[in-house]
C-alpha cells in the first residue's frame, strides 16, 4: 500500500535526496569561496582572466541546476528514476551549463 511513501517516492529516496541537497549546498559554498579567492588573486595581479572565471562560474551554475532539480523532485515526490528521466529530458535541448550535472550523480 505504501503507507510511508509520497506518491511514488519512498522515504529512503527522500532522505537520500535531502542529503544530496545538503552536499550540493556545501559544494556551492566551497565553489563560491574558491571563485572569490580566484578573483582576489587576479585583482592582486592587476588583470581579470574572464575565461577562468567563467569556467569556475559554470561549475557553480551546474551545481545550482542540479540542486534545483533535486528540490523539484522533493517537492513533487518524484522517484530517482523519474528524476533521472527529467534530467535527461532537460539536458536534451540544453545548451551549456549543467550538461554533465546528472552524470556526476550516477
Amino acid at each position: 500500500m505504501g503507507l510511508f511513501s509520497r506518491d511514488g517516492q519512498s522515504g529512503r529516496e527522500r532522505r537520500a535526496m535531502k542529503d544530496h541537497l545538503d552536499e550540493l549546498d556545501e559544494l556551492r559554498r566551497t565553489s563560491l569561496g574558491e571563485l572569490g579567492e580566484m578573483t582576489v588573486g587576479m585583482a592582486n595581479e592587476g588583470s581579470f582572466d574572464r575565461r577562468a572565471l567563467s569556467e569556475k562560474a559554470t561549475q557553480v551554475v551546474s551545481i545550482d541546476r542540479e540542486a534545483d532539480l533535486i528540490a523539484r523532485g522533493l517537492e513533487e515526490g518524484l522517484t530517482l528514476e523519474e528524476l533521472e528521466d527529467l534530467a535527461r529530458r532537460e539536458d536534451e535541448p540544453g545548451t551549456d551549463p549543467g550538461a554533465s550535472s546528472t552524470s556526476r550523480r550516477s
Binding site: L3, L35, G36, E37, V40, N44, V60
Partner: protein, 462 residues
C-alpha cells in the same frame, strides 16, 4: 587585549573573510550569468576581501607578540569593551564614555573586581568635574573642561586626570603636548594604586586632543566589531531558523503520513461496507427467488393435483352413469305376470347397442386419459423434484459465493474489483432465475395443452 579575546576576534575575522569571499564569488557568478563583466566592481569586491585578509594577518601577527594598543588603533588610554576588561584602576577610555554625571548603566557594567573601585571613583570624578567647572581659573587645564560635543558612545567626556593618562607611552606620546596638569586632589583610594605605571613619568594628553585622536582611530575597529557582532547574530538567527524549519518540516511530514494512513483506512472501511451491503443484497435476492420458486412449484403441483382429481371425479361420474344405464338395458323389466311376452323392439335394441358402444368407447377414452394423467403427474413430480434439486444447488452455490466473498474481503481488494465481482454474481443469479421461470412456464403450458385435448372428447361425447 587578552588572548581569548584575540582568538575570538580572529575567528570572527575568518568568518567575515569567508563570507566576503563567497559574496565576491556570487558577484562573479551574477556577472557570468548576465554576461556583463565589470572589472571595477570586481576590483572593489576583491579589495574588500583583501582588507579583511590584511586585518586577519595583522591580528594573527599581533597574537604572537604582546598586544600593542598602538598597532590595533587603540587609543592612548587603552580602550575598554566587553572583551577588554576594565583595568583595575578603572581607566577611562573615549569609547565607553560615562556620562558627565558619572551615571553608571548596565551597558557599561564593570567587572566585579573593578566595581568597587569604580563605585568609589565615579563620585570623585563628578566632584572633580564640578570643581573644575566652578573654579576653572584654578585648574586652568583644557583637559578638565568638558568639551561641547554631542553625547555619543565614542564621545569623550571629562574625566579625572588619571584616566586621561595614556597606558602606553607609544605613538600618542610623541604627538602629545605635555601640559601642566593639576595634581589630583582625590583620596588615596581613587589614585591609580593598581596602575603599574609611574604617575609622574607618563606624558599627559589633553582630553579634547585625545578624543580627537581616538575618534577617527577607533571608528574602523568599532565598525568592524559591530559588523562582526551583526554577522554573528545573523548566523545565530539563521541557525535558529534552520532548526525551526527542520522541526516544522518533520512535523509536516509526520502529519502527511498520518493523513495518508487515515485516508487509506477510511477507504478500506468504505470498501468493506460496500462489500457487506452487496453480500446482504445478494442473499436477500437469493432468498426471494427461492421463496418465489417454492411458491410457484407448490401452486403448479396443486393445480396438477386438482386437475387429476377433477378428471378422476368425471370418470367416476361417467362410470356411475354407465352402471345406471347398463341394468336398464341388459335386464329389462319382466313383463307382468299373466301378460304375454313382449319381444324387444328392434329400434330400441339398436339404440341400446349404440349406447353400449358409446359407453365402452367413453370408458376406454377415460381409462386412457387417466393413464395419461397419471404419467403426466409423474412427469410433473419429477420436474418438481428436479426444480427442488436446482434450488438446493443454487442455495449451495450462493453459500459458496458468500464464503468466497468473505474470504476476498479479508484480503485488501479494490472497490472497483469487488463491484465487478458482485455485478457478475448478480447477473448469473438473474440468468438462472430467468431459466427457472421459463422452465416452469413451459411445464405449465404443457399441462394446459394436455388437459385441453383430454377434456374435448368428454365434451363431444356428452
Amino acid at each position: 587585549m587578552r588572548k581569548g579575546a584575540l582568538k575570538k576576534k580572529q575567528r570572527q575575522l575568518e568568518e567575515l573573510h569567508l563570507d566576503r569571499r563567497e559574496a565576491l564569488g556570487e558577484l562573479v557568478l551574477g556577472m557570468f550569468v548576465q554576461g556583463n563583466w565589470d572589472d571595477s566592481l570586481l576590483a572593489r569586491g576583491a579589495a574588500e576581501v583583501s582588507e579583511v585578509e590584511t586585518e586577519l594577518k595583522s591580528l594573527a601577527a599581533g597574537d604572537l607578540r604582546e598586544p600593542d594598543s598602538a598597532a590595533h588603533d587603540f587609543p592612548a588610554t587603552g580602550e575598554y569593551t566587553a572583551e577588554h576588561p576594565y583595568p583595575v584602576t578603572g581607566e577611562y577610555t573615549a569609547e565607553h564614555a560615562l556620562p558627565a554625571t558619572g551615571e553608571h548603566t548596565a551597558e557599561h557594567a564593570l567587572p566585579a573586581a573593578a566595581a568597587k573601585a569604580s563605585e568609589k571613583k565615579v563620585p570623585d570624578r563628578k566632584a572633580e568635574s564640578k570643581k573644575a567647572e566652578v573654579n576653572p581659573d584654578k585648574t586652568a587645564s583644557p583637559a578638565i573642561v568638558p568639551a561641547p560635543v554631542p553625547p555619543s558612545a565614542s564621545t569623550p567626556t571629562p574625566v579625572s586626570p588619571t584616566a586621561a593618562t595614556p597606558s602606553v607611552p607609544a605613538k600618542p606620546a610623541a604627538e602629545a603636548k605635555p601640559v601642566p596638569v593639576p595634581k589630583p586632589t582625590t583620596s588615596p583610594d581613587a589614585t591609580p594604586m593598581a596602575d603599574p605605571r609611574p604617575a609622574g613619568s607618563t606624558p599627559v594628553v589633553p582630553a579634547a586632543e585625545a578624543a580627537k585622536e581616538a575618534v577617527p582611530e577607533l571608528s574602523p575597529l568599532d565598525k568592524l566589531a559591530a559588523e562582526l557582532e551583526a554577522t554573528e547574530s545573523k548566523a545565530k538567527a539563521a541557525t535558529e531558523a534552520a532548526k525551526a524549519s527542520a522541526t516544522a518540516d518533520s512535523k509536516t511530514e509526520l502529519s502527511a503520513i498520518t493523513r495518508e494512513v487515515e485516508s487509506d483506512r477510511k477507504k478500506l472501511d468504505d470498501a468493506l461496507k460496500a462489500a457487506a451491503a452487496s453480500i446482504e443484497l445478494a442473499n436477500r435476492k437469493a432468498s426471494d427467488a427461492e421463496s418465489k420458486l417454492a411458491r410457484e412449484s407448490a401452486a403448479s403441483r396443486q393445480a396438477a393435483t386438482e386437475w387429476v382429481r377433477n378428471q378422476a371425479a368425471e370418470i367416476e361420474a361417467d362410470a356411475a352413469l354407465a352402471a345406471e344405464i347398463a341394468p336398464k338395458t341388459e335386464a329389462p323389466a319382466p313383463p307382468p305376470p299373466g301378460s304375454a311376452s313382449v319381444e324387444p323392439d328392434a329400434a330400441t335394441a339398436a339404440k341400446i347397442a349404440s349406447l353400449e358402444a358409446n359407453l365402452a368407447a367413453e370408458k376406454a377414452a377415460k381409462a386412457e386419459a387417466i393413464s395419461n394423467a397419471e404419467s403426466r403427474l409423474k412427469a410433473i413430480e419429477a420436474s418438481a423434484r428436479q426444480a427442488e434439486d436446482r434450488v438446493a444447488a443454487a442455495e449451495k452455490a450462493a453459500a459458496t459465493g458468500a464464503a468466497a466473498v468473505a474470504a476476498e474481503n479479508d484480503e485488501p481488494k479494490s472497490p472497483k474489483q469487488s463491484a465487478t465481482t458482485e455485478a457478475e454474481a448478480r447477473e448469473a443469479a438473474v440468468t438462472w432465475l430467468r431459466g427457472q421461470i421459463s422452465a416452469l412456464k413451459a411445464e405449465l403450458s404443457k399441462d394446459a395443452s394436455t388437459s385441453a385435448p383430454a377434456a374435448e372428447p368428454r365434451d363431444g361425447g356428452s
